[in-house]
Amino acid sequence: MSLFDYTLKELQEKLHKKEITITDLVDASYERINEVDDQVHAFLTLNEEGAREKANELEKLAHEQDNLLFGIPAGIKDNLVTKGLRTTCASQLLDNFNDPLYNATVVDRLEDKNTVTIGKLNMDEFAMGSSNENSSYAATRNPWNTDYVPGGSSGGSAAAVAANEVFFSLGSDTGGSIRQPAAFCGVVGLKPTYGLVSRFGLVAFASSLDQVGPITRTVEDNAHVLQAIAGHDKMDSTSANLEVPNYSDAFKEDVKGLKIAVPKEYLQEGIDPEVKESVLQALKVYEDLGATWEEVSLPHSKYAVAAYYLLSSSEASANLARFDGVRYGVRSENATNMLDMFKLSRSEGFGDEVKRRIMLGTFALSSGYYDAYYKKAQKVRTLIKDDFEKVFEDYDVIIGPTTPTPAFKVGEIIDDPLTMYANDILTIPVNLAGVPGMSLPCGFSSEGLPIGLQIIGKHFDETTIYRTAYAFEQATDHHKKRPTLGGAK
């Protein structure tokens, strides 16, 4: 058995009994990275020196028995700033951003728990993309089959967990960027309720949609990481000032009597038959466990992708205005005046997808088009949000697939933006409504690629998502399968 087969709780027991040391865990991470990351490309920057130093410091401390994250090696998505550790957002524009001045709040909270940061994880540039092919460094590959994409934009975060390079990771999710790669890589990813987790120090993409969340191998591990990062932060005025529940309570209760809603729009045409079959099998498992499910409708689902691209691109066009080649980042050497410096630095630094979205957003916000595009999309967002609220009057959770298909091949749809966007059709509505959503493994395609089950909950009701997910995980063994890439140890 590899150290990566243990849950966080089991690892803490081993640390406590001194069967293993924190250095063993850190060694296991870097050994595995050396072994497989030239195939997976999950990491952009490693923190080996810092991590080993931290491990040595932690070895001197008494084991913190109640802290399930004590000494655990973690990977951080590269759009979360890390003090003194290079942060690029996978963009050439930030290629030289080697010395960030502070930690994102979520990174500070992990450090408070004495985790060990192994390195920064690859992603689609500025979190724009669904395949990691928009990384300006190397496209991350799916550990289950390296001809396939890992999903995106948190593709590095999901692949690193699936490939046993770290024990957990943080990602960010604006339209599916945690859940879709979690589905493609066969791991557990949660997008928390908007406002539950601080966004301070997350390089902003679309501020009304972005959330940071954990990617783990098991549901229980996921809850332990969320517990550490959730809660109000005065540095983020959109973070909710609410008491954070004890998510472990979710594991004390079964799902007898749980009322599940299954949106018919999530199982109709366009959903791969194997994906649909896996979801129906999962619903059978829930029936056997004493839950009930009924078909419902989220009638405005088909408008979500269009509304999302207008809103998220508009917000991105404003947020990415800060990259001007003055205070940080790469400046073009070809400019002789100020305006050209802005234009050339941005054009040379940003990749195609980022430019496309900045252009779309600038257009949607421009004089004469604002009402027709931006405001219209905001109104449609209200209708989509109302769809969810109506269903949640009668049901505890909504269940469906995370993605219409399993992972697609590298290069297959990169030249077709609209087809790429359609990949997020089942995850985007969740961000628009601001509710929490999780993806967990629920089967494999005939080609051996993972399939994700999406569980959507009410605002701030992550506990019910964990309870629902845990019951399924305990009853099945999909989460125990690991990719054999490079010969798993």
């Binding site: 005025s237 959109t238 257009f363």
Partner: protein, 96 residues
């Protein structure tokens, strides 16, 4: 709603402070046109009486006292900058 013209693409690129080549104008006009055309799907919906959602949570403006506090030192603020002179960010000339 009509799709986007090449002239509009050039104008939007200027507003967004992006320099784009003639070749990029061609591809952008096509790709943005496709996306904007797709977005006209939203016109199927009557939203006359619907309130726009800017934010999903019922949050009001969050105020704090406007007090000076310690944040980052000037030297730190300058250390990631591409060009610095006399403790300040240096940029090319603004006036010709």
């Amino acid at each position: 709603m009509s799709e986007i013209s090449k002239e509009q693409v050039k104008h939007v690129a200027h507003l967004a402070r992006l320099a784009i080549t003639d070749e990029e104008v061609e591809t952008m006009t096509k790709q943005l046109g496709d996306i904007i055309n797709y977005a006209t799907l939203l016109n199927e919906l009557d939203t006359e009486d619907v309130k726009p959602t800017t934010h999903v949570l019922d949050l009001k403006n969050v105020m704090r006292k406007d007090e000076p506090r310690k944040w980052i030192e000037k030297e730190d603020a300058l250390k990631n900058a591409p060009d610095v002179k006399d403790g300040q960010f240096r940029v090319p000339s603004i006036l010709e």
